[in-house]
């Protein structure tokens, strides 16, 4: 049975003076799968390693169940926290066979060696590797090594399983299959799971709860649906997938249903857009409109239902249909626009924006990226690992 995890005002400052965690608080119910999401350097690995006991926290308190495992005075060593972990590089001991690697995790249970071997083999069977128990890690493929690491983490039936980006070294196909396996195995084990990733699609697919970290601070905590529908800031919105951003001005007349009307500061704007406020906004405020890919529809320029006009810059076949990138007058790009039909490059199109996926934030919160043009896909885009993947529009 999973343990309740309590993180209270945790901070971590490294010897070099750099702050990795800043006043992080959260509570995870037993058996819940929590995914910590954030870019490189956001502190997610530090938080995970602090839970494991590999890192010492500088401030705050960590509890597993009713036991305080770390605070200003206490630091329970990793081996006494009764947890298990899947490492990013799997960390399989190369001189032990797959079976021995898994059996090692049972030593803490005080079982006789023969029983450990039997249980290890049974666990390897569960992950589909029963026949390969006698092989050394170097004789296994990446996916098989990953499964051994998962078996090692689950075999001892610990109350807390930690996963440090375990899918990051796998190719796309294997990644998806392993994601499903991890999801079902940790839920079968009923263990509380803390999983870290920088891939928001992986996070949303796996999580019961998502915690988004930015520069050491927990900036949002909730269900995947809550975070997608109501991101707390432009950072969270960007990190969980945007088609584009537009500088806008809030108009006097609210659109009703809790929505605001905003006017885009672009010559491509045809009519005001109804949007959901992400912050306190008043008439005339400069603001930022964050547009989810799911909120954009293509329409003909002579139709009267579109809010923006632009030119198709790129079209990509995605199997189920086509994703278009449209450039507005002054170069702002709206991308990931799904359509069943292919619109050729260079064609003028209208863009209809749907209110549930249009989020408006105050100008000050939006200060980091004034328009989507600052973060176009292509040569000027940040490295792939840093850039949030766009969620599929359909």
């Amino acid at each position: 049975m999973g343990e309740r995890i309590t993180v209270e005002n945790v901070g971590k400052v490294y010897g070099s003076g750099s702050r990795a965690l800043d006043d992080v608080s959260l509570e995870i119910d037993p058996g819940v799968v929590l995914v910590l999401l954030g870019p490189s350097g956001s502190g997610k690995t530090t938080l995970l390693r602090s839970l494991a006991g590999i890192e010492r926290i500088s401030e705050g308190r960590l509890s597993i169940g009713s036991t305080v495992v770390a605070d200003g005075r206490v630091h329970v060593p990793p081996e006494r926290r009764d947890l298990s972990m899947v490492f990013q590089d799997y960390a399989l001991w190369p001189h032990l066979t797959a079976r021995d690697n898994v059996a090692f995790a049972l030593k803490r249970r005080g079982l006789p060696a023969a029983e450990r071997q039997v249980k290890a083999l049974a666990m390897l069977d569960r992950v589909g590797l029963g026949r390969l128990g006698g092989r050394y890690p170097s004789e296994l493929s990446g996916g098989e090594q990953q499964r051994v690491a998962l078996a090692r983490a689950l075999v001892a039936d610990t109350g807390l399983v930690l996963c440090d980006e375990p899918l990051s070294n796998l190719d796309a196909d294997l990644r998806e299959r392993m994601r499903i396996e991890i999801s079902s195995l940790v839920r079968q084990a009923e263990a509380t799971t803390v999983y870290i990733t920088h891939d928001q699609a992986e996070a949303f697919a796996l999580a019961d709860r998502v915690g988004v970290l930015e520069r050491g601070r927990l900036v949002q905590f909730g269900t995947p649906e809550e975070i997608y529908a109501a991101p707390a800031s432009p950072f969270v919105a960007r990190f969980t997938g945007l088609a584009g951003e537009l500088a806008v001005r809030v108009r006097v007349r609210p659109a009703g249903g809790g929505l605001l009307e905003v006017e885009a500061a672009t010559r491509s704007a045809v009519r005001p857009v109804a949007a959901r406020p992400g912050a306190e906004l008043t008439d005339g405020d400069d603001a930022l409109l964050c547009i989810r890919p799911t909120a954009v529809r293509l329409s003909a320029t002579d139709a009267d239902d579109h809010h923006l006009v632009g030119t198709v810059a790129d079209v990509a076949f995605r199997g189920r249909g086509y994703e278009h990138a449209v450039v507005l007058d002054e170069g702002t790009q709206i991308s990931g626009i799904f359509s069943d039909v292919r619109i050729e490059r260079g064609r003028s199109v209208g863009l209809r924006l749907e209110a549930p996926g249009c989020l408006v934030f105050s100008g000050s919160a939006a200060g980091m990226v004034p328009t989507a043009a600052a973060d176009p896909p292509g040569p000027l885009a940040p490295p792939v690992a840093e850039r949030p993947k766009l969620l599929s529009a359909s």
Partner: protein, 585 residues
């Protein structure tokens, strides 16, 4: 369009160039094999076969006999062989016992000055074994520095000038090999393995116990290499061990050849036993590791957390490391420098620069230094080119021929230098070669060929790591963007390899400058290289002059390192300097 038309004739010329280069490639490979056969295989094979069949080359009456093996397995030679084996085992053990902790301290703790400790290890590795040996020897010999300063300690003399001293010197020599093997393993052993053990229930000690076997291959390698290096060593055998009347196999082989008449079949029998003693541990090590790769390196291995040593632990660790460097460099360095400042005869302690004055004024003393500098430069230049060609072959597609080349070069690296040189003496003195007009015996040319042939396998193996990392696309990209093959190589590939090639040149140059076994056996009469001249001076009781020559030689080697590395820093384009490290690969 006009430009395109203007370039039309060029593709027409290409087939001819391609055909020529293809022919060159077809001829080049057999030519390289011919070089390997003539320079490396044939001389050693001709020599070693004498142990069984002396009549084959008119060295006896039997077509097949084991007499010479029986001969060398009795009397003094048997004692020497036995000595070589047990002394080498002890030296390998010292290598691991000292090298492992130093590697761990420099890689896993916050030991002060650990960069200096790591850098100095290279100095110990590159110093030929005879130099520290004569440094120690001149310190403790009955008329040595120790007695001249009034320390009348005969027990120290007996201790150092005997089996203990020989084991100590060879053991100190084995330390860098252990250090490097264990360092490489520790570098690849990320922190995760310990973390994983702790997270899954192992205490601090349990985690260490779990992780330690991952280093087993490195420790096995250390023992094998330490043993192989010690058993094939000629430097300590011909200096400290010889002066201590403690016979070792390599020096016995030298005496078999140097005696009158020379006993080549007997020397060949010793050669076989030496080759076996080097090959057996290396083969056992390779077999033990087969199928159990402990390769743990990955691109994302987490950097280790250095253990913070307490103040007493730091002091103890520094004391241990300091003791090693004192024995490996400090004592012999002091012995060499101090005895070079003393007059040769008498018991006075008056310091003088007479010996240095003689080295620089007397052409007979400066000559060997100049000679060795020239030999070193020629050998290093030829070897780097040849080594690169071999490395390129090894780094190419795996075929039966590259596997064979790989094996031969590895075997040649393991072949003791003294056996290699003995093969040259014998093969190039054969009447058959004279009959076809090859008269290289006792010439400088043969000495340089011997240097090149002995350095080539090591150089190829050093360069293969770097060469195999150069992607073919670098060259292809330059070709695709308009450079000819040769220009493409110099513009796109050479800059990437310039550091490893420079380093290989430097390593060979320094090695040849102070090389002893091949020099002793192959030097042309009247033109002794530096190491032989120093040994002659010491043998003729000109201790001060000999030691002054040795000190000056080490000084020149250091200056050469500074000039080459400094020159590279100053002259190489900035982009070249930013590529890679100074170490191989």
């Amino acid at each position: 369009m006009a430009t395109l038309v203007g370039r039309v004739p060029r593709p027409a010329a290409l087939p001819a160039i391609r055909a020529l280069s293809a022919r060159g490639a077809r001829l080049g490979r057999p030519a390289l094999w011919l070089v390997i056969v003539l320079l490396i295989l044939a001389p050693s094979a001709c020599f070693l076969v004498l142990a069984f069949s002396p009549r084959l080359f008119s060295q006896g009456s039997q077509w097949f006999t084991l007499t010479f093996f029986r001969q060398v397995l009795t009397g003094t030679t048997a004692v020497a062989l036995l000595n070589s084996v047990w002394v080498s085992l002890a030296a390998a053990a010292i290598g691991v016992v000292v090298g492992f902790p130093i590697a761990w301290l420099t890689h896993r703790t916050d030991l002060p000055a650990r960069r200096l400790v790591a850098g100095a290890m290279w100095f110990v590795l590159l110093l030929p074994s005879w130099l520290p040996a004569i440094g120690w020897q001149r310190l403790v010999q009955p008329d040595g520095v120790m007695y001249r300063v009034g320390l009348d300690w005969p027990w120290v003399t007996h201790l150092v000038m005997g089996p203990f001293g020989v084991v100590l010197l060879l053991g100190l020599r084995a330390v860098p090999f252990s250090y490097l093997a264990v360092s490489a393993a520790l570098t690849g052993l990320g922190q995760e393995f310990e973390d994983a053990a702790r997270v899954h229930g192992a205490g601090r000690l349990g985690a260490l116990r779990l992780v330690a076997p991952i280093l087993a291959p490195a420790i096995t390698s250390s023992i094998a290499i330490g043993f192989a290096e010690s058993v094939s060593d000629f430097g300590v055998a011909s200096t400290l061990a010889y002066a201590s009347h403690f016979p070792l196999a390599t020096y016995q082989l030298y005496e078999y050849i140097g005696g009158f008449p020379p006993n080549f079949p007997g020397a060949a029998a010793i050669g076989w036993l030496l080759v076996a003693s080097v090959a057996v541990p290396l083969a056992i090590q390779a077999r033990a590791l087969r199928g159990r790769s402990y390769a743990v390196l990955s691109g994302r291995t987490r950097p280790v957390v250095r253990r913070q040593l307490t103040r007493p632990a730091k002091a103890a660790a520094l004391g241990f490391v300091g003791l090693f460097y004192t024995a490996a460099l400090g004592v012999p360095g002091f012995g060499a420098v101090s005895s070079s400042l003393l007059a040769d005869f008498g018991a006075s302690l008056k310091l003088t620069f007479t010996n240095y004055d003689q080295v620089f004024r007397s052409s007979g003393l400066a000559g060997p230094l100049e000679r060795s500098l020239v030999y070193g430069a020629i050998t290093a230049s030829l070897t780097v080119v040849g080594g690169f060609v071999f490395a390129k072959m090894l780094a190419g597609a795996r075929s039966a021929s590259t596997r064979m080349l790989d094996f031969l070069l590895l075997a040649a690296v393991a072949l003791p230098s003294v056996v290699f040189a003995a093969g040259y003496i014998f093969a190039y003195n054969l009447p058959a070669l004279s009959a076809v007009g090859i008269n290289l015996y006792q010439t400088v040319t043969l000495l340089v060929i011997g240097y090149v042939a002995s350095s080539l396998p090591t150089n190829a193996r050093v360069l293969v790591g770097a060469v195999s990392q150069v992607q073919r696309s670098l060259h292809e990209a330059a070709r695709a963007h308009g450079s000819g093959s040769l220009r493409a190589w110099f513009r796109a590939v050479f800059p990437v390899l310039s550091k490893p090639l420079t380093m290989a040149w430097l390593l060979t140059f320094c090695g040849i400058l102070l090389e002893l076994p091949i020099s002793s056996l192959l030097y042309a009469p009247g033109s002794p290289p530096l190491s032989v001249a120093i040994q002659d001076n010491l043998g003729n009781y000109h201790f001060g002059t000999g030691m002054a020559q040795a000190v000056v030689a080490v000084g020149f080697a250091l200056v050469a390192v500074a000039v080459v590395l400094g020159g590279y820093r100053l002259l190489a384009p900035k982009g070249w300097r930013r590529l890679g490290g100074w170490t191989r690969g």
